[in-house]
């Protein structure tokens, strides 16, 4: 089969996901998302009118599930940038089938991360105060700057990489509704695919990748600074910066695996997103898993060895007392299970199969959510002075709003795949073009 024919076939296969009528499963999925969003909105309105008292937060535990969600969503947004920009700079080949979805996850999870903070505010009506009267020594202001820059940059990056594919849709999809055709026409910005066009696009994308690389590190370090800059036991540690960055990438990559595996199954893209791609990204996930273990040990050991009384109280609460279940569950979900599966630990049978990796990735995401919980809540519940130590149990309001955020994220992804190609086709073509001559040489 010729390369051109091959590309043609792949193109029509990917574009199929836009053309085919939405299945019952898809409609059900959208319906569920919309249901949870409206439920969450109801509770959110209730919270705004009554006050934050409807949550389970109380005097020593001032930050709870909302801040956990904030860190979590900003965390999974790092996958996109990592996979598409950092691996673009290093020119890693296996990233190509994942880039589009990874970037989409970035762009769609960031608003929910930023939104969690707004939900957490006691006075959401004064949302613009940090911009009008910024106090520059506050890590929250650093966060506002970083995250807004990150959001704008990653949106632009996502869109620019989408332009050639939108142009392709415009040229190829003549049978879709007029609405969609109009969208393609407007958004493709008159892309013609001339060599000059390509040159400019590549130049911009490479330049932006380098900028995004710096942003990835700074954004999540800044998120960690919100905690690290206070004197609170359990938060005030230098390792929290890299720990957060690593954790972010870890959960982000896991999310990409889940989303990609589902799409591969639903739209039968086995030919494009091959087993070997998953094997590579699985090994990458394994590396991150080991790093995560390393950081956890470093943090825990430093605290334990220092043995400072206030820090030890938090340490004990996490290890043996009230929060022990969450901590050890987190450890099992984040390290033991993923490590055993991804490293083919019981090597009698091969564990690192795609279904297993999906399960592990879901487990990692739950584990990472719990990790943020076990960083944020126990430190709040065990303050320096012997006040009545706090307890915190999230209420129904908090859970519904959390569900709202997650379903909002999935809804955006679900709508996106019905409008635009889920694989970066032009990059895929490039990689086929560059890899094919080698193949023919080998043959």
């Amino acid at each position: 089969m010729t390369t051109e024919g091959n590309i043609q076939r792949i193109e029509s296969k990917v574009l199929q996901s836009i053309i085919i009528k939405p299945s019952i499963g898809y409609r059900f999925f959208i319906l569920v998302c919309v249901f949870f969003i409206s439920l969450g909105l109801f509770f959110w309105i209730k919270q705004i009118t009554l006050g934050l008292g409807v949550t389970g937060l109380n005097t020593p535990v001032f930050w709870g599930v909302y801040i956990v969600n904030f860190v979590f969503f900003i965390g999974i947004s790092h996958a996109g940038t990592l996979i598409s920009s950092i691996l673009r700079i290093t020119d890693t080949q296996w990233r190509t089938p994942f880039t589009r979805m990874a970037e989409a996850i970035t762009v769609f999870s960031l608003p929910f991360g930023a939104g969690s903070v707004v939900i957490d505010l006691g006075r959401p009506d004064r949302l613009l105060h940090p911009l009008n009267f910024p106090h520059l020594t506050s890590p929250i202001i650093w966060d506002v700057l970083c995250i807004s820059t990150y959001l704008i940059t990653s949106c632009l990056y996502f869109y620019l990489a989408l332009v050639p594919d939108i142009a392709l849709c415009r040229d190829r999809l003549k049978n879709v509704s007029l609405f969609k055709q109009n969208i393609y026409k407007t958004l493709s910005l008159g892309w013609k695919g001339t060599p000059n066009d390509w040159k400019t696009l590549n130049k911009i994308l490479t330049g932006m990748s380098i900028f995004l690389f710096a942003l990835v590190i700074s954004v999540h370090t800044n998120v960690s600074f919100v905690f690290g800059m206070t004197l609170k036991p359990g938060w005030h540690t230098a390792v929290i910066g890299p720990y957060f960055v690593l954790g972010a990438i870890y959960s982000g990559v896991a999310t990409v695996i889940v989303v990609m595996a589902i799409l591969r199954r639903v739209y039968s893209l086995e030919e494009i997103v091959r087993e070997e791609h998953f094997q590579k990204i699985g090994k990458f996930l394994l590396t991150l898993c080991c790093f995560w273990f390393y950081f956890t040990v470093v943090e825990v050991l430093t605290t334990f060895y220092g043995g400072e009384s206030a820090h030890m109280i938090v340490f004990k609460a996490k290890f043996f007392e009230e929060y022990a279940v969450i901590f050890w569950l987190m450890f099992v979900l984040n390290f033991i299970i993923p490590f055993a599966v991804l490293s083919n630990f019981f090597s009698l049978i091969k564990h690192r199969t795609i279904p297993n990796m999906v399960i592990v990735s879901i487990i990692i995401n739950i584990g990472m959510w719990l990790e943020r919980y076990s960083i944020i809540v126990p430190s709040g519940a065990r303050p320096y002075l012997p006040w009545q130590t706090g307890h915190y149990l999230p209420t129904l309001t908090e859970w519904s709003i959390t569900l709202m955020l997650f379903s909002g994220f999935f809804l955006l992804l679900g709508v996106f795949i019905k409008f635009f190609p889920i694989i970066t086709l032009w990059e895929l073509k490039e990689s086929i073009h560059t890899s094919n001559p080698n193949k023919s040489e080998k043959n």
Binding site: G51, T59, F62, R126, H129, H135, S138, G380
Partner: protein
């Protein structure tokens, strides 16, 4: 510029909580209800910190009146994104309720956990009997002890109107006034003549969490064993 500070003599203190009540009434604090108490959401700018010790089979409880330590280097002010809390020229750690966005970052940053958050619209049983110098806080803002700053304002205003210097005892927070045993002494720490300055250098003096570098302006005097 004066630097106001407080000395609390634990030997004299009987833990009668008159200061707690005086503070609550002076600053229009909501009395709180059973739900608030269950959720640990009662707001008391000044409250009693119980420190229990068990040594050699003897259980001992020390009750310490505890309020905002008015740190010289307050960790809460550095982290506020909108400058709602800051160190004012009188050396008081200020909180502007109208600016506060309710992010609760300062409350987390405070190592003493002595700032409070309004989880609901605060109930106001005082109605027209509320202290007109202190506003009733709104839903979703942080509040804290301001060393009865409104009293300082009144004293300053009166002194200026009458074209004289502010007197030594003219400005006293409500808790100091209310203390029946005169365990709480208030004044200008920088003024070497004042009783506060003298007491804060007493050999019995200690400060809470001084090792964190917050430099609190509230000094405690140890009990005599």
């Amino acid at each position: 510029m004066p630097k106001f500070g407080m000395v609390i003599d634990l030997e004299k203190c009987t833990a009668c909580q008159a200061c707690v009540v005086a503070c609550a009434v002076e600053n229009n604090l909501p009395p709180g209800n059973i739900n608030d108490a269950q959720m640990n959401r009662i707001i008391r700018w000044l409250k009693i910190l119980p420190i229990s010790e068990a040594k050699g089979g003897i259980f001992k409880m020390t009750l310490i009146p505890f309020t905002c330590q008015q740190c010289s280097r307050p960790p809460c002010t550095y982290v506020c994104p909108v400058s709602a809390t800051y160190k004012n020229p009188d050396g008081i750690v200020a909180q502007v309720y109208w600016r506060c966005i309710g992010c609760r970052y300062c409350v987390n940053a405070c190592p003493y956990t002595i700032k409070f958050f309004n989880w609901y619209e605060p109930e106001n049983p005082y109605k027209e009997n509320a202290n007109p110098d202190v506003s009733i806080r709104e839903n979703g803002v942080t509040e804290k002890c301001l060393f009865c700053h409104h009293r300082l304002q009144r004293a300053k205003e009166a002194a200026k109107y009458e074209n004289r210097e502010i007197g030594v005892d003219e400005y006293q927070p409500a808790c100091v006034e209310a203390c029946p045993t005169k365990a709480i002494v208030f004044g200008d720490i920088e003024d070497a003549q004042s009783k506060v300055a003298e007491l804060s250098h007493s050999p019995r003096a200690f400060r809470f969490l001084e090792e964190l570098g917050t430099a609190p302006n509230i000094t405690y005097l140890k009990e005599i064993k």
